[in-house]
Amino acid sequence: MATGCPFALDIFAEPEDHAKDPGAQFDFPLMPEGQAYDMGHAPDGTPLFDPRILQSAEFFRNPYPYYRILRDHYPVYHDRLHNTYYVTRYEDITRCYFDDEGFNTIPKGSSSGVLGNTQLELSGVEHRRRRNLYGQHLVGQSLKNRIPAIQRQAREMIEAWDGISDPRVVSMADGVRTVELGMAFANEFPIRVVCEVLGFPKEAQNDFYYWYNSMMSGLGGSETHQQGLEARQHLEDYVEGIVEARRKQPTYLHDEVGNPISKDIISKLCETKVDGDYLSTEEITSNIALVVGGGGETTRGAILNMWHLLLRNPEQFEALRNDDSLWDAAFHETLRHSSSIGGQPRHNTYDVVMHGVRVPAGSLMEMVDFSANHDERVFKDPETFNIFRDDLYTGKILRSGYNKDGRRNHMAFGVGPHLCPGAWISHQEAVEGSRILLKYLKNPRINMERMPKDTDGMSLKPLGIVSVRELHLDYDLA
C-alpha cells in the first residue's frame, strides 16, 4: 500500500469480513446441516470461534456443529462480545446445576420483568420452600388423578377439527386431511392443561392463551415487552379476583365421576404461609405466570418436535405404533435430540477456574443444555435421533439425575434443585396427547409441500434451536 509509511505493514490490511460488517450482525453463510462454517484456524490448528455466530441465522438453524467446536476446544468459552461464558460439556453443567450456591440463578431477571419475581430467581432455602408449594401439585398422586382430564382435553381439541374452516389449520382433499398440528393442537393444548390443573374455570382458557402468548413474546426486553407487561397486568387482575374468592371459599378439583380429589392449587396457596405470612396476591400471580409461561412454549415445542422427528424416521414410528410403551423413550429422546429450551443462565458467586479459564465472580455463565444433550462424552452418535438408544435414561425424571447402567438423564429439564417441576406433567401431556392423536390420525405423514424449507428450497428446515413452529400433517380419513 502506498502509504509512504515504512511501518504500515499489516496495519491497514483490514480483516476482510470486517470490511463487510464491522458490527455483530455478520451474515454467516448458511451451511449444510451438521457442518460448521470455517471461522478460521489458529496456527496450531485449533479452530477459531467467532462469537458473532451465536446471533446468526446460520446458528439458529444449524447449532450443533458449533457447539461441538466449543465442547472440544473451548469447554468454557468466554464470549467477549456478549460478556458471557458458555459452559457446554455435560459433566460441567451437571456440576454447576447441583451447586446452586456457587452458581446461582440471579440472571433470570430478564424474564421476571414480565413474569414478576418467581422461584426461578431464588436460591437455597428460600427456593426450596416456595418450590415445594407448587411442585407437589405437578407430580405424584395429584397429577395421576388429573390424567383423565388431560386426555379429555386432547380429545375435545381433536374432535373440534371437523368444525374448523380456516384452511391454514385444517383442510381436506381426496379423502386426505391436512392439519397444521401447531395451530390445531400443540400450541394451545399445554395451556389448557395448565389452566385445568391450576383450577381455573374453562371460560378463562382463551384469555390465558392470549396472556400467555403476549407474555412470552414480551420476555427479554424485546420490542413487544410493553405488550407482555400489559398482558401480565390483565392476568394479575384476573388472578386477584380468583384469589380473593378462594380465600373466602376454597374450591376443589374433581375426578371424572365428580368426586372431589383435593383443593385446587390456588385454594391451597391461599392458605399457605411462608415466614409466618400468607402469600401475597402478587406472589401467587407471579408464580402462576411462571407456570403458565414455563409450561406452554416448552411443551408445545416438545410435542411438535417429537412428531416431526418420528415422522422423519418412519421405522421408529412404525415400532412405536406396534408398541405403545415406546412413547416414553420417544419423548425423552426428542428432548435430548431437540429440546425446546436451550439452556439456563447462572451467576457464579465466587471466582472459579474451569478448564483453565478464570471466571470472575458475578459473571454470566450460560449453561448450554442443548450442547450437554449432544455431548459425545455421554451420548453416542448424538446427532442421531434414536428412540432405542441404550445410553439415555427414559424413566421418570429425577432431581438427583440418573447415572446407572450406562444410562444418563438428558438435560432438557435441567437437574438438581432447579429441575423443572413440570417435567412429569409435560411428559404426561406429550405422551397422553400423542397416544390420542395417533388414534385419530390414520397413516400420518408430513406434508412436504407446506413445510418451511431449508436454504436449498427442497429439504425440510432443520429443527435447530427454535423448535418446529409449524408441522403440516396429512392423514387419511377413516
Binding site: 505493514l9 470486517h18 458490527g23 414480565v114 397486568q233
Partner: protein, 444 residues
C-alpha cells in the same frame, strides 16, 4: 489468581476457592426489581448497539440512551450502558467500587507479566522520548509527502507518527524496527472479541518477548535513555524485570489515543471550514482545537468497568461483577454539560482549557474524557519529580504535530469533496477513528 493455587474439586476440572465460599450467602434478584414488573425500553433494541450502524456512527444511538435510559440494562450484551457525563466520570474516578480489568485479561493472557507502566523511570522514559522526538518525527513524515501535494493524513501522518513515537521510546535497532512495529500493532489489536485478532495478539506477545529479550539484557548492562533500559533498571520485589514484564507493560500502555485523536482532529478541521480558518489564523488556537477534538470525537468511545460488589447507583442495584459500559462518546456530547454538543467548536466556552483534575474538571468546567489516558490526577499540581501526565503528553504531541503540518502546507482541502471521509470503528469495540483522510494542498 492462578489455577494451581485453587483446589480442584471433582473430576471435571472445576475449582472453587474454598476460602471465599464462606462470605457470600444466597442472593435473590428480588432486590433488583425496582420496577415491579420491569422497565420497558422500546426506543432502542440492544442489537442496535452492536450493529454496523453503531460501529459507523454511534452518536445518534447513544443520544437515545443518554436522553431516555441513562442506565440502560442491555440483556443481549449483558451490560449496563452509562451515558451521562457526570455518571460516567463518577464511575471512572471510583476505583473503590468499580474494577478496571487489564488488557491482558481481555486478550486472554492474564498473568503473562507484570504491568510496570506506572513506575517512575518508565513514565519518564516515555515523556523524554516523546518530547525529544515529536517535532522531528512529524516534520519528517510531512517531508515525505509534502512535495506530492496530496496525502492520506490518517495513515501517512497520524498512524505513522504514533508508531514512530513508540519506536523512539523503545529505540530498537533499525533492522528490527518494522517487525517490532508490526508486533505492537497486532498485540494491541488483539484486545478484542474477534478470535482472529485475539490469536494474532496473543502470538504477537510471545514474538515480542523473543524480539525484545536480547535488547532487555543488553540494556541492563549498558542502559540508555529509552523505555526498555528504564524497565531493565527497575528494582522490583519479585526480581528484575523479565521480557514478559516488558511486553505486559507495553500492552497495558495506551496505544490508540494519539493516533485516533490526531486523525479525528484533522477530519474535524477539514469538515468545518470556519474552525479550520480560526486555527490557521491563530496558532494558539491549535491547542483549543485539540481539546475540542478530545471531546467531540474521542477515539476511545467507551471504557469498561466491573462492579466490585453489589452497588446501588442510578436508581438501580448493579450486581457484583456487573459490567458498566461507560460510554465516553455519549458523555462527551452530553447537552447537560456542553452546549451544542455535536458541533466541533475550537475554543468553546464551556470546556476547560487546562488539564482537568479530580472529577474531569478545571475552573469548574468539564473536559473531554479520554479514557485511554487515565483519570485526572487528584493532586492540585503535578509533583516536581514526575513527568507530565500521559494526558498532557499526548495532548502536546497532537498539538506539536498539527502545528508542524499547519506550518508546512497551504490551502489544505479534502481530496474528494463529494465523498467526505468519516470516523468509524473498523471492528466493533475498537477505536472510533478516521482511517482514511485523503487531502490535497499546496506545499510552502
Amino acid at each position: 489468581m492462578t489455577e494451581s493455587a485453587l483446589p480442584v474439586i471433582g473430576a471435571n476440572g472445576v475449582a472453587i476457592p474454598e476460602g471465599t465460599r464462606g462470605d457470600a450467602g444466597f442472593r435473590t434478584y428480588e432486590v433488583f426489581q425496582r420496577e415491579r414488573v420491569g422497565q420497558s425500553t422500546p426506543k432502542i433494541k440492544p442489537a442496535q448497539l452492536v450493529s454496523r450502524e453503531f460501529a459507523d456512527n454511534p452518536y445518534p444511538l447513544l443520544a437515545v440512551l443518554r436522553e431516555n435510559y441513562p442506565c440502560y440494562r442491555d440483556w443481549l450484551n449483558n451490560c449496563f450502558w452509562i451515558t451521562r457525563y457526570d455518571d460516567v466520570t463518577s464511575i471512572l474516578t471510583d476505583g473503590a467500587n468499580y474494577e478496571t480489568r487489564s488488557k491482558a485479561w481481555r486478550l486472554g493472557i492474564e498473568g503473562f507479566g507484570r504491568d510496570l507502566r506506572t513506575a517512575l523511570p518508565v513514565l519518564t522514559a516515555q515523556a523524554n522520548a516523546w518530547d525529544a522526538s515529536c517535532r522531528r518525527l512529524a516534520e519528517s513524515a510531512i517531508a515525505d509527502f509534502a512535495r506530492r501535494g496530496e496525502a492520506d493524513l490518517a495513515t501517512e501522518f497520524a498512524a505513522r507518527l504514533n508508531m514512530q513515537l513508540w519506536l523512539a521510546m523503545l529505540d530498537p535497532p533499525a533492522e528490527s524496527a518494522p517487525q517490532v512495529a508490526a508486533l505492537l500493532w497486532r498485540l494491541h489489536r488483539g484486545v478484542s472479541w474477534d478470535p482472529h485478532a485475539r490469536w494474532l495478539g496473543a502470538a504477537a506477545a510471545d514474538e515480542l518477548v523473543a524480539e525484545l529479550a536480547p535488547l532487555l539484557e543488553a540494556r541492563r548492562q549498558a542502559p540508555g535513555g529509552d523505555l526498555i533500559s528504564a524497565v531493565a533498571g527497575l528494582e522490583l520485589e519479585g526480581g528484575p524485570a523479565q521480557p514478559q514484564d516488558l511486553v505486559a507493560t507495553l500492552l497495558e500502555m495506551d496505544f490508540d489515543t494519539l493516533h485516533g485523536a490526531l486523525a479525528n482532529l484533522w477530519l474535524a478541521l477539514l469538515t468545518n471550514a470556519e474552525e479550520f480558518d480560526k486555527v490557521r489564523g491563530d496558532s494558539r488556537c491549535v491547542k483549543l482545537a485539540v481539546l475540542e477534538a478530545f471531546r467531540h470525537s474521542t477515539p476511545m468511545i467507551a471504557a469498561q468497568r466491573f462492579a466490585r460488589h453489589e452497588v446501588e447507583r442510578f436508581g438501580r442495584l448493579i450486581p457484583k461483577g456487573g459490567l458498566l459500559v461507560c460510554s465516553v462518546a455519549a458523555a462527551n456530547r452530553d447537552p447537560r454539560v456542553f452546549a451544542n454538543p455535536d458541533r466541533f467548536i475550537a475554543g468553546r466556552k464551556d470546556i476547560c482549557h487546562r488539564e482537568a483534575r479530580g472529577q474531569y474538571r478545571a475552573d469548574g468546567l468539564a473536559t473531554g474524557i479520554t479514557p485511554g489516558l487515565g483519570p485526572p490526577t487528584k493532586h492540585p499540581a503535578v509533583p516536581e519529580d514526575r513527568p507530565r501526565s500521559l494526558y498532557a503528553l499526548t495532548r502536546d504531541a497532537v498539538i506539536t504535530a498539527s502545528g508542524a503540518l499547519l506550518e508546512a502546507v497551504d490551502d489544505m482541502v479534502l481530496a474528494d469533496e463529494a465523498k467526505p471521509p468519516s470516523a468509524i470503528c473498523r471492528r466493533l469495540g475498537e477505536m472510533h477513528a478516521c482511517w482514511h483522510l485523503p487531502v490535497r494542498f499546496r506545499p510552502r
